[in-house]
Each structure stands twice: as C-alpha cells, then as structure tokens.
Symmetry: C2
Subunit: 349 residues, 2 copies
DNA sequence: GTGAAAGCGCTAACAC
DNA sequence: GTGTTAGCGCTTTCAC
C-alpha cells in the first residue's frame, strides 16, 4: 500500500497499474510486453491477461525509465557543421536517407550542430545521452576533437581520414574529378582549370578533404593525358575576378571544373554577366547534383555523388556497430556518376 | 557497504562515488552541484569539498537518471515533412535559427520527419520523450493529426490555422504577394498572372496554407488597382505548357508571380529555353530568398520571408511555454520584405 | 511459470 | 546546514 500510487484517471498508467489490473507482478507483465512469446516461458493465459490489461489501460512504457534501466536511449546523434546547414545541397539526400533508415529501425536522431565552443556540442555526444553518432561532413579542425569522443560507436560520412580506427563512408571524389576532366578532354579542351573558393581562411587553414580529392583527380587526369603542364588551380580569386582573368587571357582556360555546385552557379552568373556564353566561350562542370542545376541556363554538367546511399549505408553501419558488430571495411568508398548536361561542350577556338 | 559499487577505474563515477570521496551525502553533493550558491543553505566549505571531489573524479551527472528523476528531458522534437527536406530552401534559415537558439538555451533537438504512418513519428512526440515540440511547415493533412498530440507544449511554424489554442509563428505571405503585385503594377504591368504547380494531388486535396495566402494577396492587390478582371491563377499546367500558353497568347501575361523559388527557377528555365527573355518579354517574381536566386540570370526578384526570426521566435516561445508561461498572442505574424532584382522590369509592349 | 526484490543514478522531502 | 530515505518507472536476476 505504501508505494501504491492510485490510478488517478489523468495520470499515465504505469507498469504497476497494469500489473494490478491484471492481477500479476510487474516483472511478469514486463516480460509479456517485451519478449517474443517463445523467448520466455510464460503461461499462454498469463501473457494474454497481461496484454489485455495493458491494452485496456492504454499503457505505454515510459521512455525515460526504460532508458535508465536498459542503459540505452535508442537515440543517435547526428553531428554536422553549421556552416554547411544540415541538409543543404549535398547533404539533403544524405540526411533524408539517415532519417529514413534510422526511423525505420526505431532510432531517434538528435540533431547536433557544431557551433562555437566544442564543449557545447560535446555534451550531446555522451554515452548516457545517445547510443552512437554520425558525423556529417566534418572539417579537419573539428574532426580532431570528435576523434577523442571515446566510447561511442561512430560513423563518419564524407570525410577522408587516415585514422584506421574510424569507420567512414565517402564518395569517390577523386574519380569524379577524373571523369569530369576526361569528359572535357574528350571534348577537345586542353586548357582546363580548376576553380575553388575557400570558405574563409579558417583557423587551421585546412579545407575539407574533398577539395584535395577533387584537385587530385583533376591533376591525375591531366597528367595522364599529357597535359600536366597545363594544370591550373585557382583558389585566390573571387568569381568575378576569375572570370576577368580569363577574359584578359591572363588565365588561359576554355573549360573549368568548379569545386561545388554553389560556386559553379556563382561563377556561371559572373560569366554571363560579363557577356561570355557557356559552353561556347567557356565550359563549366561541377560537383553535387542538386535539382536546381537542371534549371540553370544552361543546365550544369555535374558529378553526382551517391548521397542517398552514403546516408543509408552510414546508418546501417552505425546500427550494426551499436549492436556490437564491428566487422567490415573501415573505409567504404562509393562510386560517383558524371551527369553531362548543357554547360560543357566542344572547345570552340 | 551493501550497495557500495566499487569505483572501478573504468566505471563512470556516480554521485555516490563523489559523495564517498567527499565524505558527504549524495543529496548534499547534488545540491552543491545543481543549485546556485545563494539558492540553498550549504556550508561554504561543504560546497567546496563537493565540487572538488566531483572535479577530481571527472564526474558528469548521468543524463538518463536525471531525466527520470526530474521528469524532463531537455529535448524538443522538431517535426517536419519529409517531402520538403529539413532545411531546404525556405527552411534553411529557420532550422538554423532553431538550432542556434535551442542549443544556446541548453535544449537538444530531436529530428522527427513525418514519414508514412503517423504512428511512427507520433512515438517521438510523447511527454516522456520530449518536453515540447516545434512543428515545421505542416500541411493541413498532418496538422489534424498533430493537433491531437495532447499534453505537450507546441509551437507551429509557418502554418495558418484557425484553432485558437495553438501558438504559431507565420510570415505575412499575404502582404508579400501584395507588395510583389504592386511592384509589378508600378512597372506598368496590367496582365499579371499567378503561377502555381501543386506538388501532387495529395490525399486531402489541400495545399499548404501559403498558397492560399499568396494568391489572396495577389488578388487583393489586383482588385485594389482596378485590375480584378485580369486576375489569372494557373495551377493545372506544367511550367513548359504554361510558357507555351503565354507564347500562344492564350494566356495574356507580361508578368507572373510564381508560388515559390523552386518553381520560379524551373519556369525561368522554360522561358529561356523557348527563347523568351526576362524581364523584357516576361517579368518574373517569386517567394523565398535563397542565395542562389542571386546567381540566376537574370537574378530573381523575390519576397524574402523572415526565416531566421521565425525560427528564433518559435524557439523562444516554446521554451517559455515549457516553462509554464503561456502568455502572448497565439498567432505572431512577421513582416516580409520585397527584394527587387533583375527578373522584373517595365512592361515593354 | 511466476513473483519479490534489488538495482539503474539521480532528485527532493523531511527529519535531525 | 546536512544526512536519511523514499521515490522516478522499468528491467532483471533469483528464489519459490
């Protein structure tokens, strides 16, 4: 009688309420509710009584209590950099796939923006708060902090890192750049540039790994075609200035790979503003396949990353890891696909 | 001695460990750790001992246990429709503001996509799981389900609804459409159309409220200018067909309001593909201010919604509501701003 | 097979 | 001021 909380009509029913209703012990009801019929020895009639009572009271196990008792939260943290808003452009399909997969598997997602001081967001990534975490698109500077986050199953998405202990899912950016470059070479281009505009001089002076990868693929394709001496990577001009340098012939380029879709759109804008035409005067190819690239005039040739697959695969790997299964390759590199559209054409000079 | 778990070096220290280390009771340590010095009567020396011990052991309160004991999770659910991926276009700044505000206030965000059967996501929105929820951009069909979610403080973002019990933060879409229409009228246009492409015939046949609002503002501005008879809302043609109807003169329009930025880009694409020029042959204005609209050629005139403010305000209102403070207007309508760019110009005929 | 009881780790009354 | 104790609601040994 001491701890017997009376089943006030507005009070959510607890396990104890159900047990009383069914005339059983709480432990018995708990078993009936959580274990598959075969996995526990429970009288058929007993089980039925328990289930009926729960049903009758509209019982739902209290999530908080369950989390404490089971030492699990069925929640994963999705850590992302605020500079590249969650699900923008490249991240859109990734995050959608994460959401789909995790909710299908009964996991909740805690959205954790990396913002400011690391102590703030590190708070969310603790074993008593989440069961695992996905790290989306981190820059090297953040990665080093994240790497220290011990004791949590973790999968990195879209990051190349040489720490062999970390599981990661990445797109084959290197190959994408190679494909795009070869496509341009195939169109007769010889003077092909790579344009990239760093976000901002960040503290650690390190760009996202994909910059390196894409430039690498570009260089290699150029070298393979005997055009190594024509390689030109420009990273210190704003789009308008870059276009000007092409017009002035200081920069010789009939085709340009642009680091990402965003910069490509910006560059295209400047190109047309200065009266150049694409692809007649300049061919433009880029990375990421967001739908709006089709709506540009001309529509943009781009390297499509396997966003959806990356998200789904990362989620599945994490779920497995949280289950204790750490098998499989540390780095999974997924293939990309070149989508040729109107912004790249034969060299015209 | 009975319940004294030995402080194994790899075991996370608990309150009991700290208490033992400090030679105090757990309750005392709990007070010292959680209450501001003035709010509780604790010996200066005692408090110091408690803090030192916690520090020494690297103690962090277990989140799960705290949640159970306090009946709070310091987590809010952010419910959004998967059809409009979280943070795409219009939502980008909203979700960023939510993230900023909530994390600054110590709240976690649970990301809850509305996908498929409502039972799946309703699971996340229970008082034992989260302390409150934000509902982003819901369509009427979902809204009715959400409305039943009882007992949770809730703030709707970007939805007009006549249920007086629900707090909501909305942009003044009606006024935006009015401003844009007046802008076009001011440029000499008389035949001004409104173009809108429904997503898909959804089950309930209801469009997002902003459709109604924007068309309403457009109609009103036309009527106010004595152009009521020229109102033409087209919703049953795809962009290409609509452009064709303009070329054929079946549709008389020298200017068009397009429902959103996405459809506007698509329409612009079709316009240019058919050899029309904007704004010379057709002026185009739209809604939502995502950066890429500037990169279009021509850049697009648009009605910018107060995304950031909406997000921040919604978060603050929810935090207040979770604290028990339900004061303030049920509907907060935030002003929008017209951004005139290159896609709208004087009528040329 | 079923039930009693001991936690999970913390907070909050209430004695002392 | 500080310690004792009783929960928060569920899971899970372990007797019976």
């Amino acid at each position: 009688m001491s701890a017997a909380s009376s089943p006030k009509s507005l009070h959510k029913p607890t396990l104890a309420d159900v047990a009383r209703e069914a005339g059983l012990a709480t432990s018995t009801v708990s078993l009936a509710l959580n274990r598959p019929p075969d996995e526990c020895r429970l009288g058929k009639e007993t089980r039925r009584r328990a289930l009926m009572a729960a049903e009758a009271l509209g019982y739902r196990a209290n999530w908080r209590a369950k989390a404490l008792a089971q030492q699990k939260t069925f929640t994963v943290a999705v850590i992302y950099a605020r500079e590249t808003p969650y699900s923008t452009g490249a991240n859109e399909a990734i995050s959608d796939a994460l959401a789909q997969t995790f909710s299908a598997e009964g996991y909740y997602q805690l959205l954790v923006p990396i913002v400011g001081d690391s102590s703030a967001w590190r708070d969310a990534v603790r074993p008593d708060r989440v069961d695992g975490c996905i790290v989306l698109n981190p820059k090297p500077a953040n990665l080093s902090v994240i790497r220290e986050t011990t004791g949590l199953p973790m999968v990195l998405v879209n990051v190349v890192d040489d720490d062999p202990g970390l599981t990661r899912v990445v797109p084959d950016d290197h190959d994408g750049a190679r494909q795009l470059t070869e496509h341009l070479i195939g169109l007769g281009h010889r003077n092909i540039g790579f344009y990239f505009r760093p976000d901002e001089p960040n503290e650690h002076g390190q760009d996202h790994f994909s910059v390196t990868e894409r430039i690498g693929g570009y260089r290699q394709a150029m070298a393979d075609a005997g055009l190594g001496h024509r390689v030109s990577v420009v990273a210190d001009l704003d789009p308008a200035a870059y276009v000007q340098s092409i017009i002035d012939r200081r920069e010789k380029a009939s085709a340009v790979l642009v680091y990402d879709h965003f910069q490509a759109m910006h560059l295209m804008h400047c190109v047309q503003e200065r009266g150049l035409r694409a692809p007649e005067d300049l061919s433009l190819g880029t990375f990421n396949d967001t739908r709006i690239l089709e709506y540009m005039n001309p529509s943009l040739t781009t390297v499509a990353l396997p966003d959806h697959d990356m998200g789904e695969l990362a989620a599945r790997r994490l779920i497995r890891a949280m289950g204790g299964d750490h098998a499989g390759a540390r780095e999974v590199r997924l293939p990309v696909r070149l989508k040729v559209r109107a912004s790249t054409g034969p060299v015209s000079s």
